[in-house]
């Protein structure tokens, strides 16, 4: 499996180094530094030299690297790296050189726990936090009982939840976060439009609650033949390990015992009937070789009770642009030469409204004609209480043997972040 695990900074200096096997030496880190860190054009996340493969994931100013000497399960190696990053994020808030150096001892403890001989072991954040902490644990008698509870949880069927959770107020929060992917052609036709949804849950529930979660999932509705309003067609769903997969497979019911605290319940994808919350209409004309004129209109396509916030429209400009004069009635627009875009920031657009950007870019003359590659217009935004897929949470039932009352809140958010592209 994984023979070694390293974390490097941007300069290629080793911040964490752990060998799990004897088929490698510590000096292998130098090979990575030379082959990957110092290489300006790395074209693959896996670099194989002879029988050694370096799998690397970049996060902020770090390289998280796993090294293997065998025909390793590549997906497992990367998922393990992602999991390490998630654990580090949960423990330290951010994952960068400073955080790693400040907490290296804890990181060494973690990587000794979550990986044995190169085989990933239990890596549920909740469980790990019960026994890998910054507080020193003395080896005492009471520690033994605690430890038995910990080991049961770490190896149990519900390894993601302790048996003795207690809350005064029992609450469950559900956040449906959808990312809209759009690729629109210059003619205005939708080339692809789909939604990646994540349902995050924060469960502050006592005991061992059994939860049942219901969506307006088309397949469920078809089965029951109720024909209630709009159904959402989900192309694919992927669940947290606490969800009973065979029940979903046979009856489309999502039933689970949640981990305590925050976790991602499910991920889904929807490609049909995607409601695009923002419509962008660009008119870009190259005037000779010295100017480009822009008229870009953004129209919101949802109920006027809602609004789009943190809207950032990035409008590409040719490489030989000198200045762009921008006129906007809403928000602020500025030419950013380093990135060859005009960045137009609009704090808020109400539903059913329309805002427009007008501008002209001045170009310097160039000696050789280079066709402008025309990268697409990129829009980032957020719309609260709106789902592009049309997904609605119909119910969340909580059953616990002590039969307590629990409060449930559901919020929806649709956003785009580097995924909403309009060609022109």
């Amino acid at each position: 499996m994984i023979s070694a695990f390293f974390i490097f900074n941007q300069k290629g200096e080793v911040l964490i180094s752990r060998l799990y096997r004897t088929d490698l030496k510590r000096s292998i880190a130098d090979v990575f530094r030379i082959q990957v860190v110092s290489n300006s054009d790395v074209r693959s996340p896996i670099v194989t030299l002879g029988s050694t493969s370096f799998f690397h994931v970049r996060i902020n100013n770090l390289y998280v690297v796993a090294v293997t000497k065998c025909n390793a399960n590549a997906a497992l190696v990367f998922e393990y790296c992602y999991r390490f990053i998630a654990i580090a994020k949960s423990y330290f808030g951010k994952v960068d050189e400073e955080a790693v150096k400040n907490n290296f001892v804890l990181i060494y403890e973690l990587i000794d726990e979550i990986n044995d001989f190169g085989y990933p072991q239990n890596s549920e954040i909740d469980t790990l936090k019960t026994y890998i902490t910054t507080e020193s644990i003395m080896s005492t008698a009471s520690a033994v009982e605690e430890s038995s509870k910990i080991t049961t949880q770490a190896t149990g069927a519900t390894s993601w939840r302790r048996a003795d959770v207690k809350y005064k107020k029992n609450e469950a929060f559900v956040d449906v976060v959808e990312t809209v992917n759009l690729s629109m052609s210059a003619k205005g036709t939708v080339l692809r439009a789909d939604v990646d949804g994540h349902i995050l849950m924060r469960a502050y529930l006592s005991g061992t609650p059994e939860c049942k979660f219901g969506l307006n999932d088309k397949l469920v509705i078809d089965k029951n033949d109720h024909g209630l309003g709009d159904a959402v067609e989900l192309d694919d769903c992927r669940f947290h390990q606490c969800v009973r997969l065979d029940e979903f497979d046979s009856q489309r019911t999502i039933s689970f015992i949640p981990p305590d605290g925050e976790f991602e319940l499910m991920r889904y994808r929807s490609t049909s009937n995607v409601k695009l919350p923002l419509r962008v209409i660009p008119t870009v004309n190259e005037i000779g070789t010295t100017q480009v004129s822009y008229v870009v209109t953004v129209r919101t396509n949802f109920n006027n009770k809602l609004s789009a916030t943190n809207v950032v429209v990035r409008i590409p400009t040719p490489l030989n642009t000198t200045t762009v004069d921008c006129k906007v009635a809403n928000g602020k627009a500025k030419y950013v030469p380093a990135e060859n875009v005009v960045v137009w920031k609009i704090p808020r657009i109400q539903g059913g409204a329309e805002v427009t950007f007008t501008g002209t870019a001045q170009l310097t003359s160039t000696t050789h004609r280079q066709v402008w590659a025309r990268p697409p217009i990129d829009v980032d935004f957020q719309v609260l209480m709106f789902t592009a897929s049309g997904l609605i949470v119909r119910f969340l039932k909580v059953f616990e043997k002590s039969n307590y009352h629990s409060i449930k809140w559901v919020r929806y958010l649709t956003k785009a972040s580097g995924t909403y592209q309009i060609r022109f």
Partner: protein, 590 residues
């Protein structure tokens, strides 16, 4: 419980052995709460990380083992794991402490002890480990048992004979029936590794054991599920129904959030399909595999890359998995280059008459991007699309002509290369565009594109008015050209002569070239071919014409397809490095 942020970055400074030794010794006298020693140990660990040799501090560090603080113990253990193997003479100092911990009341301590000991595989440690390991394999706490299972694998790697003789492999097999799923999955992982070794123990599954493992699947962690699923490839179904039932039992795992679980599950399903007869079931399973694979594409780019390289193999073997989904493989502008190249390949594979128009529009967009390698592959794909889908060939040629208009050098060169193949595929259909190609002759300086153009001129010399002038220009630099181009020039000169045997220019050219090739060129291929042509033309020009201008075999895209046997072999390694490089791991070196 929020962990307090540490402040240990300051310890990342190179330190001297003597200083650390002095600090440790000084701390022994007055160190309430052990903070002083904790600090020195942290400095030592930071130095180990930086690659500085801290092994001379062995005896000093080991002194700290008595301190009842887990954090300190773990740092000492890390030190031992790094340097233990090199300090055989001094390691006995720590063995009593290890043995004490192996029977500690706290299961976490017991597990930590055997885990650490097994990372120091030198004879004196292994000998001491044998008894405690035997107990731990039967420990009442599942956490200890699961750790012990992996220890057996470590032991086996260090000393296979001892591991077998001590009966550990047998005990590991017993753990396959353990009531705790985590123990079972670690035992499977250990046995799988042992079983994969050249020298020895065989690990195969019969139906009973396989079913027991499947029962543990539901209660295992995500990683445990991967180990168990992986091991199912060691089960050879005896009846179709056995394979079919097993497939139905694992198909729900396709909905797991961890993409490695999904890919490993697909690997097993594809394997089981080789033993299934029920066509309906096979189709049902294929359809269920598609959506999870597409969902992986919204995961991190590294995992996307693994999935994409595997999808390329899967759709060749089981096309029904992703028949109608070409759009999901369209490139996002900010995808990393390795994702884009992988998606491009799949887009081409999924292109059919129904979606050719959309695919072509996408390819045209890509041809105007900035990464040269990506642009060239996009242009090449337009050509391959023309060959693959006859109904789209007109539109593709139109697109290729537009690309030539851009006058971007690498685009034009790639276009010429690909147009040659289109001519071969559709003889008589597109030769009208040859004048446009000839206009751009000056731009072609790469061997492949130049050779392609020369081939075109030679092959269609009868339709190109000034073919002889063009060939005259091209052969001017004959002796400086690379071999690939020289070969093309040779053949084309002969073709030109045969088409235009009346032209004085053509005669001069072919004479010139043949003379060069037979008298001044060292390359044996060129020389031999030159002699052969000369003789043919001298003996019987008419027959020479028939041979040189004979109808070529139809060009197809069949060469794109991987050989079925090789494909099946690769699919047995779905999700692994071999599946990414498309190289069978048994065959390749590493």
């Amino acid at each position: 419980m929020a962990a307090q942020a540490g402040q240990d970055a300051k310890f990342f400074q190179r330190g001297k052995i003597q200083e650390f030794r002095a600090e440790l010794q000084a701390a022994e006298s007055k160190d309430r709460k052990f903070t002083k020693r904790k600090t020195v140990l942290k400095k030592i660990v930071a130095n180990i990380t930086m690659g500085n040799d801290m092994s001379p501090l062995f005896t000093d560090v080991v002194q700290c083992l008595g301190i009842p603080l887990i954090e300190i113990k773990k740092m000492v253990y890390l030190f031992l794991v790094c340097y233990g193997r090199a300090k055989a003479e001094q390691i006995h100092l720590v063995i009593p402490s290890f043995l004490q911990d192996c029977s500690d009341r706290n299961p976490l301590v017991r597990a930590l002890a055997i885990r650490t000991m097994s990372y120091i595989p030198i004879p004196v440690v292994i000998d001491s480990l044998t008894e405690p390991l035997r107990h731990c394999l039967k420990d009442k706490d599942p956490y200890v048992r699961k750790t012990a299972a992996i220890c057996v694998a470590k032991l086996y790697t260090a000393d296979p004979r001892k591991a077998e003789k001590s009966g550990f492999v047998e005990m590991l097999r017993d753990l396959l029936l353990d009531p705790n799923a985590t123990v079972v999955s670690n035992a499977v992982a250990a046995l799988s590794e042992i079983g994969d070794r050249q020298d020895g123990v065989i690990f195969k599954l019969n139906l009973t054991v396989a079913n027991k493992l499947l029962a543990a699947l539901g209660e295992s962690s995500e990683w445990g599920q991967i180990y168990i699923l992986d091991s199912l490839l060691r089960y050879v179904p005896e009846k179709c129904s056995d394979a079919e039932i097993m497939a139905e039992r694992i198909v729900a795992q396709l909905n797991h959030a961890n993409s490695a679980v999904v890919l490993t599950c697909i690997k097993v399903l594809l394997y089981l399909m080789n033993y299934m007869e029920n066509r309906k079931l096979i189709d049902y399973i294929c359809k269920k595999m598609g959506p999870p694979l597409v969902t992986i594409l919204s995961s991190g780019p590294e995992v996307q890359y693994v999935a994409l390289r595997n999808i390329l193999l899967i759709i060749q073997r089981r096309p029904s998995v992703l028949k109608n989904d070409v759009k999901v493989f369209f490139c996002k502008y900010n995808d990393p280059i390795y994702v884009k190249l992988a998606k491009l390949e799949i887009m081409y594979r999924l292109a059919r008459e129904e979606n050719a128009r959309e695919v072509l529009a996408e390819l045209q967009e890509y041809a105007s991007e900035v990464d040269v390698d990506f642009v060239r592959k996009a242009v090449r794909s337009i050509g391959r699309l023309a060959i693959k889908v006859e109904a789209a060939s007109d539109a593709c040629i139109k697109a290729l002509l537009e690309l030539i208009e851009t006058k971007v050098t690498y685009v034009v060169q790639e276009t010429v290369i690909v147009v040659k193949d289109v001519f071969r595929r559709y003889p008589g259909k597109y030769e009208g565009i040859i004048p446009i190609l000839c206009e751009n002759l000056d731009m072609l300086d790469e061997p492949e594109s130049k050779a392609a153009m020369v081939w075109i001129i030679g092959q269609f010399a009868d339709r190109i008015e000034n073919a002889d002038e063009l060939m005259d220009d091209l052969t001017y630099t004959f002796l400086e050209e690379p071999v690939e181009v020289q070969l093309a020039l040779l053949t084309s000169s002969v073709k030109l002569f045969i088409y235009k045997s009346q032209s004085e220019t053509a005669k001069t050219i072919v004479h010139k070239v043949l003379k060069w090739v037979t008298e001044e060129i060292d390359n044996p291929d060129l020389r031999d071919r030159g002699f052969m042509y000369w003789r043919m033309l001298a003996v019987n020009p008419a027959v020479a014409g028939e041979i040189v201008l004979a109808e070529k075999p139809a060009i197809t895209t069949d060469s794109d397809r991987m050989d079925r046997g090789a494909l099946d072999q690769l699919l047995l390694h779905t999700g692994t490095l071999g599946s990414i490089y498309h190289k069978n791991p048994e065959v390749s070196d590493g």
